[in-house]
Symmetry: C2
Subunit: 639 residues, 2 copies
């Protein structure tokens, strides 16, 4: 087997790989993460890298994505270029995946009352008490006598019945093995770790002495784009840290559909996708554990929330039928399993709970979101809008819940937009245009590398408001603007000039990009409108709209209304909640009652299949305009 | 590492072993089973073997157990002799463990009504329906449509709810993985294997097509001396076969106490004992599977019943505290576990249920026996007497249950009696003495090698009746008997002369043997009497006495009364039920209701601790006479 060395710059990571694999695969081995939207199919052009060694030139396929200048400088597509010699490869800023600014949390949570903490910043059912799904209970047992010589495990369950509200305890064989010595060598003082599910309490672990102080859990949001984990102290309820990273599955496809195709298109295709997300989670846990100076053995519970495909890949369940009519997942409720069963590296007896979903395209992330926003808790009707590659809407109150999903495309997460990027360092997150002058703000105050979701919303709004584009998203060529240029065969607008950007090239938004964004916002708005119509309500009947999604750390709600993404109601009734899926997962971790409620929410929620619902089609067509073909729906919009 | 070859005769099995291990260990490796009562401590002298090679002579320690003649012929104790050269070893008949005549079953069971079979020959609760703890249910599912696109597993549980009485189904992750393809590649026709425990149904396995015909379970009686397994067709309830073998743990000690000492006296001492019984069970399963032409994968349930120590060793639970005041086991109720978890080789998702016990010395074997005799089902008070190394008595009706155990010694199983042996080929099982002539019948009509339990009862009775011994078990030296001899320093009686026996030596019962038997029968009777007195009843208040135990295939009840082992009541009210533990295990396998009932029985049964109960001591002393010091208790006895 011939091997070659590949050195990745600017990181300086070197890897020795088998000849013939792609640079993309080599990068993965080197743990260098290169952008990709198409999963290595050579159709998105996001994985441009520059070969520093001579002799390697772009293949025919890649040439279509590269300028003449780039070709001369040795640029190629990493997914189309094979390693046939030792190489030095420079990854330019726009092709890098970075993780600094991942949307990791919602906002500060009040833990001043740990015993009765309301684990959400949004109003929730006051019954959601602090009652972690895994508990550690220190027991000082009475020594057996001839008058009281019940079996060791009964002595423990008797005491647990006294100390908890539970009656029935199940115990793993593992716990019984060696128990006799553990009790007798530690003067009958032990700590039992118990996990609850429905009415059954399982004794997971019995440790010598009092270990109840060392008691941690992890909440995970398994997003298609990013995986975020929170380390939680299960004794106090405190969040000890949060860490996020790009979903390593991105190497196999940007969106759920291309990942399902990858998993189902080859033998054992599921394995790398499953292993990627497990690696993500284990890396995050390791980071959190190291930062906080704790041991992985002291983590005994993980609650994960993700869309239905992510949950399937997490549990190594075949996702194939999810994308095929009639869109059937293997499961929407998932069993409590041993975390070790899927390779998650926590205590060997620790559990993994996966938040249940509603349907193939309304998953546990939405259920967790509904939980965290308390939508199912009160009589007022409220809505959760999660804007991602799929726009998902849930609507309801303590009596009924409906939901739907619409394929919105990844535009607001930076996908399908040439200058689009995720909300990481160097992304423009705010834009204002005044008197032909463009002002912007980037994440990390860095030189701009692209525009993230919140910046794209601003951009469209400002272009429309300044009449640089019309309601249909076409550039108004009469506007005299030095920034209006011809770009890749269509009109475009220079947001940042080459001398300002990190890439040294103009940062341009083109007509087709705008068209993509209008399709996305149209799909989301049409879904909101269709669902509210479906239940016979008006926008005004909805007390609150909660908006979740990976736009960035910041979402300008009036401008989201201004482009017709969100309904034109009092902006105070719209709240940006950020990562509501993570918040819900943490609530479920901290409260068995909340975890049970996820099942009730998932079971109670009626999924409206928009793909076969004609009113949605009509609404979608009507929404393909800025702000909308029916201006009466957006009376406050001022352009 | 030096190794030597050891050839065991007459089997001709050869094994290559590390120098320095004992012949006993070498025999184990060769799967040649040598008798042992003391577990290799060199104190019982039961493991005599003859070295055919020159140069190996008995060590000092062994000499005490060997006659001068034996020493000259090269006899040694296998447990005390190390392998230091290549050897040929002859195992004489009396040192062999054989398995042909193990007490494997109770009697024929009527399966004429498989759907409502009463799985016991004794009257039982008519509610004990045929309802195996693991069931296979063939499902032809409707294909999903857009109008009915619930998740795959919900489609299965929906159909299972329709086809069974259960509401809630739990599923293992293993079942979900690969499920989508399994359904779609098999036209939505599958067979679900479900197991029940309390109100929860677990889906263990989902197989393509209809496999409901291939559905088997195994009931196991894990006895201290023998392990017996029955293969049961879980579709019809039919017993397909039964196989038994000596408990391989015998190498580590004959009785539970010496095995506990072995397990607890050295590091990892538990492992070989655990592995021995698992090997027993796997060997039996292999035999049954081969004989019946089925696959181990089609066995999905095992129910095991054993005394508390055997259950602990089966599950690899530390047994140490069982023998120490205050006699506390690790558990008396055992979790349903995956059979693979302890190494039992059935279907990888198959379950193991272990019948619960009452206390350290009243185990699952007694609970299974009480179940099988239906004692807890009816208002009439009945008793179960299990005569083994421990004599265990259970007494009660559908309102109350009490039990006790008394250390009876292994006399009736052939232990502690020089000419005693288990009920295997060559054992004398019936004896009659008339006009100074001894008539006997051996198992397998073979030359006599020893006397088993039923033969010993006959022997004592006949010796007493013929006034060859007195009521205190001493030989009446005035009786002119050519068979009365001096033997090992005490009077003895020749049951069979040297020319008749397989060993070529006189088969003699000595005064100390008779004394041991009187102690054993005295302990059992005293326990019965104490327990019946304890609850304020008389023998006549007990409707039926069920007698279980390894006496042999035959128990002469009038003679068991005649020596004062059983109370002197109408013999028709006493029934010999043989292996009631195995019968109970099979009932629990065939009926979830019966399995649940074992927990109720175990919880309801009050254990009377005889070791600290003065009336038992008094009864014991009073019972140390033939038939009893109080003749009024045995009016029918005619000597």
């Amino acid at each position: 087997m011939t091997t070659h060395k590949v050195l990745f710059l600017p990181d300086g990571k070197e890897v020795e790989v088998e000849a013939g694999i792609t640079l993309m695969e080599a990068a993965e081995k080197a743990e260098v993460y290169i952008n990709s939207l198409c999963g290595g199919k050579g159709v998105c052009g996001k994985c441009k890298v520059q070969i520093k060694s001579d002799g390697v030139r772009a293949d025919k396929h890649s040439i279509g994505f590269l300028s003449k200048e780039e070709i001369e400088k040795g640029f190629v597509l990493a997914c189309q270029t094979k390693v046939e010699e030792d190489m030095e490869v420079m990854i330019p800023p726009e092709s890098r995946l970075e993780g600094e600014q991942i949307m990791m949390d919602e906002s500060v949570v009040d833990y001043s009352q740990p015993e009765k903490v309301v684990v959400s910043k949004v109003s929730v059912d006051p019954m959601t008490l602090f009652d972690p799904i895994v508990q550690k209970i220190y027991l000082e047992l009475k020594k057996p006598t001839l008058e009281d010589n019940i079996a060791d495990i009964e002595r423990i369950t008797r005491e647990l019945r006294r100390k908890t509200e539970y009656q029935y305890f199940d115990v793993s064989l593992h716990c019984l093995q060696g128990l006799a010595a553990k009790l007798r060598e530690n003067d009958w003082k032990i700590t039992a770790t118990i996990s609850k599910r429905a009415n059954i309490c399982r004794i997971l672990q019995i440790e010598p002495g009092n270990t109840s102080e060392k008691h941690y859990g992890v909440a995970v949001d398994v997003g298609t784009t990013t995986v975020v984990a929170q380390l939680v102290n299960l004794r106090s309820g405190d969040v000890m840290g949060v860490a996020g990273s790009h979903n390593l599955q991105a190497h196999y496809g940007e969106d759920v559909i291309s990942r399902i195709i990858y998993a189902c298109g080859r033998e054992k295709g599921l394995n790398p996708l499953h292993e990627a997300v497990i690696k993500n989670i284990n890396n995050l846990i390791k980071t959190l554990v190291d930062e906080n100076g704790i041991e992985v053995e002291d983590i005994t519970a993980v609650v994960a929330a993700g869309n239905t495909t992510m949950s399937h890949l997490l549990l190594a369940l075949t996702p194939c039928s999810i994308r095929l009519d009639p869109y059937v997942p293997t499961a929407k409720n998932f069993p409590q399993i041993s975390a070790r069963e899927v390779g998650i590296n926590i205590n060997q007896d620790g559990v993994l709970e996966t938040v249940p979903g509603v349907a193939s395209y309304v998953g546990g992330d939405i259920v967790a979101g509904v939980l965290s926003c308390g939508i199912a808790d009160r009589p007022e009707t409220r809505a959760l809008i999660d804007v991602g590659t799929n726009g998902e809407i849930a609507l309801g109150n303590n009596e009924w819940l409906v939901c739907c999903s619409a394929s919105a495309g990844p535009a607001f997460e930076g996908g399908g937009i040439r200058c689009g990027m995720r909300a990481t360092r160097g992304a423009i997150e705010q834009i204002a245009i005044e008197n032909n002058e463009v002002k912007y703000k980037t994440i990390g105050a860095a030189k701009p590398r692209g525009i993230c979701g919140s910046g794209l919303i601003d951009c469209i709004y400002e272009l429309a408001k300044n009449r640089i584009i019309d309601g249909d998203g076409k550039f108004n060529m009469e506007a005299t603007q030095e920034r209006l240029v011809e770009y890749e065969g269509e009109p475009g607008f220079i947001v940042a000039f080459a001398e300002q950007t990190e890439t040294g090239q103009d940062l341009i938004i083109g007509e087709s990009d705008i068209s993509n964004l209008i399709r996305s916002k149209g799909a989301v708005f049409a879904a909101i409108k269709s669902l509210i119509d479906y239940v016979g309500l008006q926008f005004d009947d909805i007390e609150s709209f909660y908006v979740a999604g990976g736009f960035g750390n910041y979402l300008n709600i009036p401008r989201a209304i201004g482009i017709g993404l969100l309904p034109d109601i009092d902006p105070d009734r719209i709240k940006f909640v950020g990562n509501s899926s993570l918040m819900g997962a943490r609530m479920a971790l901290l409260s068995g009652h909340a975890l049970e409620k996820t099942t009730h929410i998932a079971n109670a929620m009626t999924n409206i299949e928009l793909s076969t619902y004609q009113p949605f089609m009509d609404e979608y067509v009507a929404a393909m305009f800025l702000p909308h073909t029916d201006r009466r729906l957006f009376p406050s919009v001022d352009y």
